[in-house]
Amino acid sequence: MTDAADLRRRTAELLAAHPAADTGPLDFLRARFDAGLAWVHFPEGLGGLDAPRALQAVVDEELAAAGAPDNDPRRIGIGLGMAAPTILRYGTEEQKRRFLRPLWTGEEVWCQLFSEPGAGSDLAALATRAVRDAAGNWVVDGQKVWTSSAHQARWAILIARTDPGLPKHRGITYFVCDMTDPGVEVRPLRQITGEAEFNEVFLTGVAIPDAHRVGEVGEGWRVAQTTLMNERVAIGGARIPREGGMIGVAAENWRARPELRTHDLHQRLLKLWVDAEAARLTGERLRQQLSQGQPGPEGSGMKLAFARLAQEISGWEVEFLAEGGLTYDDWTLRRPEGVDFTGREAGYRYLRAKGNSIEGGTSEVLLNIVAERVLGLPPEPRTDKDVAWKDLPR
C-alpha cells in the first residue's frame, strides 16, 4: 500500500529527474502523470498509484512548495471532475489510454453536453437523437445548452437518445463527442451579467464512432449518474478560512466604509456573518468526515447553503453601497474561463449569484433529493416512469 512517505519519496524523485525550474510546464505535467502522481487514487499506468485519495494533498503540497507547474484545474474542471471519473469507471481500456493523460495535463479541454432547452432539471427527458448507421457507428442531431468551455473544448461527454420507444431513462446512451467534427456548432450564450460563460451547442449530423460510446447502449442514464455525482462531490479538500469567500468581501466593505453603516444593515450583516460561519463549519465538518473515510450526507446540502448565502450576501452588499450600488462595472460581452465572485463588483456578484440556485441542480431539485434520499420521505408520484419517451407530452 502506498503511504505518505512513499509519495513524498516518489515526488522527490520526480523533482530530481525533472527540475521544476528548467522543465517546460507540459513536459513536467506529462512526467508527473507517468510517475503516477497526477491523481494518486487512479490506477497505475493511468496517472495514479491506487493510493488513498486523501494522500493527494501530500503530493500537491510538496510540488507547490517546489514551485512546480500545475495543470490549471479551474480551466479543465469539467474534464477532471466529470469526464475522468466516468471514463475511469465505464470506459474501455482503449478510451482510458487515449483520453486520460491529455485530459489531466490540460492539453485537451473537455465540456459536457447534457442539458437541453427542453430538458433541464428533468434531464432524462432529453431529445438529442443518436441513430446507428449500417456500420454500427452513430449520427447525432440535437441542441444542447449551458455548456461551459465548449468554445475551448477538444472533447465532450454527451448523452443522447438511442431508443425513443423505451421509457425516458432507459433509451439513453453515453458518448464521447469530438468537438472539432463537422456538424458541431458552438454559439456563446449571453447571460444576465452581460458575459458569456456558457454556450449553446448545435449538433447536426455529427458522426460518432461506436468506439467512442461509454458503457452499453441504453445504459447512458446510469453512466451519467457517475458524472453527476462527481459534479456535486466537488466540495472538500482545502480548509476554508473564516470570512473566506463572499462574506469576507462584505465584512471588509463594512470595515472600510463607516459612512455607509446603518443599524438595519448592521443587524443583517451580523446574521449573515453567523450563517456564513455556520456554513463554513458545516463544510469543515464534512471535510473531516471525508478524511476519515466516512462521508456524511451534509454534502447534499452544502450547495443549497452556498447558493442562499451568495444571493443574500451579494444583495446586502449592493444595498450597503448606496449610490455605488446603482453602478455596474462592465457590460461588455466577455468569455471568462470561470466564475470569479470576488474579482468583480457587487452588482456582478448579485446578478451572477442568481445562477447558483439553478446551475448544477436547482435548489428545488436538491431539496427533493435531501428529502427523499437523506430523510427518507416518500417520493413524488411519477406519471412518466413507464411511458415510452415518444409518447410523453412535450
Binding site: R255, R261, E277, L281, T282, Q292, V370
Partner: protein, 403 residues
Amino acid sequence: MTAPMTGGTPRRSAPAPAPDPEPDLLYSDHEEALRDAVRSLLADRSDPATVLARLESDAPYDARLWRSLATDIGGAGLLVPEKLGGQGASAREAAVVLEELGRCVAPVPYLTSAVVAVAALLGCDVAEPEVAALLGALAGGGTVGVLALPLATAPGAAADGPVAGGTGFGSVRAAGDGALVGRVTSVADAAAAETLLVPAQGPDGPALYAVDAAADGVRTDPFIPLDLTRPLGHLTFDGAPGRLLATGGRARAAVERALLTGAGLLASEQLGVAEWCLAETVRHTSERTQFGRPVGSFQALKHRMAALWLDVASARAAARNAADALATESPDTAVAVAVAQAYCAPVAVRAAEECLQLHGGIGMTWEHPAHLFLKRAKSDELALGTPGRHREALADLVALAAP
C-alpha cells in the same frame, strides 16, 4: 449597545482569525459510547409520555432519573478533574449528554448543576478546601448546585456592574461576615438546588459565595414557567449565611467562565431538541395520509423538512465547534460560543414550530409531546443570552462595529 465581553480589553481592529489547530468537529468512539449509555437510560426512563405525566405531579425534577444519570453513568462529574472526584472528561462529552437530554426534554438539572455551577467552581481556586469539597459533591451527583443568576443572563454579565440582560454581581450585597441580602429572579432549577452559588457585591467588590438553599434567610419562590421541564424560581436572601469562594477578578472570571460554558453547551441541547423535532416530523408525515398520499410526499412539505435538515446539520457543526473550543480552551472560544448560540437557538425554535405545524391538529394538543419541545426551544432561546445579544457580542469580537 454592545455588552463588553472582557472588561478593559481593547477592541480588535481585525477579525478574529479562525482557530489553529483546527477544531475537531466529529464525535469520538468514546463520545458515541457515552451517548449510547445516556440514550438507553433516557429511552427507559424519560420518554415523552413519562415526561408529560411527570409534569402533572408536584416533583420539580425527576430525582431518580437524575441519580442514574449523575451517579450511575457518572454524568455529573464529566467536567471535573479526576483528582477532584470527577470523570476528568471535557466539554465535548458534556455536550453529547446535553444533546441526548435535549432530544427528550428531560427534566433534570444537568445544565445548571453539572455544567454551569461546576464551571463556576472550576473558575475558583480549586486548592481551597471549600471549593474542592463542593466540586466533589457536585461531581458525585449527590448534591445539586445552581449559580444564582437569572436564566437569561448572557456571557459578559460578569463585567463590572449590572448590564442589560443580566444583573451580574449587582443584585445581592454581602456584609463583612458573609451575610447576603438581595433578590435574584428567574433562576433555573432553583427549587432543586441544595447549594446556591451567589455572585454578590462584597465589602471589597464582587465576590462569589456558597449558600445552603435550606439555610435560614434563603427563600425560594417557584413560579409557573413557560418551559415546564426546566422549573424556575425567584431567590430572596435576607441575611443568609454565605461562605466565600472567590473575590474580585477571580470571582468575575469564574462567573464568566460559567456563563460561557453554559451558553456554549446549551447549543448542544438545542441541537438535540431540533433533532427530535425533525425526526418526529419526518416520521409523522411519512405515515399520515391525506388526499390519498402520505403528506410527506407533497413537495411543499418535504422542502420545508429538507431545509430544516440542512439547518440542523449546520447547527451540529456550530455546536461541536463550541464544545471543542471549550474543551481545548481555544482562544477562539468567545467567537465559537457566540456563533453557536446565535445559530442554534433559532434553529431549535424553528424546528419546534415546524414540528407543531406539520403535525397538523394533533400538534396543537397537550397529548402530543410537540409542545414540550416548543416550550423548551423558546425558553432556551432566551437562556444564557438571546441570539441578538450573541450577535452583538460578535460585532466586537470580529470587528464589525455598529454604526
